[in-house]
Point group: C2
Chain length 291, copies 2
Amino acid sequence: MKIGFIGLGIMGRPMALNLKAAGHDLLVPERKSLTPELRAAATVHPDAAAVAAGSEVVITMVPDTPDVAAVLFGPRGVAEGLKKGTLVIDMSSISPTATRDFAARIEAAGCQWLDAPVSGGEVGAKAGSLTIMVGGSAGAFARAKPLFEVMGKNITHVGEAAGAGQVCKVANQIIVALNIQAVAEALTFAKKAGADPAAVRQALMGGFASSRILEVHAERMLNRTFAPGFRIRLHQKDLNLALGSAREMGMALPNTAIAQQMFSAVTAQGGADLDHSALVKAIEALAGLAP
Amino acid sequence: MKIGFIGLGIMGRPMALNLKAAGHDLLVPERKSLTPELRAAATVHPDAAAVAAGSEVVITMVPDTPDVAAVLFGPRGVAEGLKKGTLVIDMSSISPTATRDFAARIEAAGCQWLDAPVSGGEVGAKAGSLTIMVGGSAGAFARAKPLFEVMGKNITHVGEAAGAGQVCKVANQIIVALNIQAVAEALTFAKKAGADPAAVRQALMGGFASSRILEVHAERMLNRTFAPGFRIRLHQKDLNLALGSAREMGMALPNTAIAQQMFSAVTAQGGADLDHSALVKAIEALAGLAP
């Protein structure tokens, strides 16, 4: 299949190369940053419009909502080149409400839309083992599924409404942030009370307090290994989507709001590029414990 | 072994009967509420002091900190009857700081102390599969271990300091409450945004958002099955221990404080005896969703 791929960063590059390795034709827009490996694997076109004109499926994988808007609807963007019937899949993690708008404009041009954000990071992108959360019509999902199966493992069609994939990704990021804060408050409480946090973690594994975060991130907190992993900077972007969407919809997310403030407190200490488990530093500061 | 058992409620009764079934002698204080089964299984003494006088080990399993204080140090309480060398094990879930004081007074009388709160509920108490978190000296722990193995499965000696078991139990209750709120905020966000919360939960299982709470309590939220389980009333008592100890020690637990308020909001709606997963009702109210 002819696949246009726009956004060839840390995540997009291995995802695109996995599609190429699975036998698909890769079309990419000219960028100075294109690696020799990508230039060899893909046909390079002058811009996103030209990429879209030659593609059956266009995938976007860029940092944030304004980047998706620019790539799709900016000058010489995807929308200028799209042929009727093309499937556009946005795999970025962006605003669920903006996504609905983007989908409506793509569908008004006679094309199909899917939002399909991922989790699993660079490791999952390279291994083709990403979790992919998909919103959009069943027909579009069926068409895209063989491509998703090249890039990921745990693939869920969350709902037929555009944006359902993004809503699911935001829900994921809410739970991960709050489970990190749960473990941070509990282990800091134990430390402050003079107990051994490692022994406490061990005692809690396997019970109702158990979680993937207690397994993985609690260990990072105990060992003080805060190299990312997933950067606080990026988790703050995702919680911003959660809180912004919540405000637009008219609802409160009290613990999510607090977690965002705790990430900001770590950022204030210069920790924006630490792993998100470093949220514990903000809780330790609230306990008067030395960093 | 001669075991005095004080506090024969929903939890204490099956724990005591399991000790009897394992071949131990059971001594209990007179109470009108003693079941015929217990009267048959135990030697009934007039009060806690008399129970303590005849026991090698005294176990207490009562609702809250003042109950432990009364049973141990009130008129005709355990302390009045204790012989030197007796091991006192408090298996109630109470204040870690008060526990240190109780331990010091018991040890000053020439006796040994363990705090050994449990999790696993009535089901775990009956099955002898409780999780037991123990604070106190290694010697006392070794002496009690065969008894713990009759009552529980996952038994951890958290630390040598009195109160370490209670600190661990509080840490457990913090994580459970905050993981419940994490799932409640995420699923309510998804619902408000028009996505199917059940599909979202399914997509998140197995990833970094996965937890025992996402497995068990999210399902209760989706199915609206809020029969306890573990009552909000009791979880509020435990978070009160967390927040009270935190204040005594001089530290802040921001998300724990919010979770306590959310439980209070459900209590305000008449939900104190619902399962703690019903915290989601408070989050739904914050989203303007009908109950």
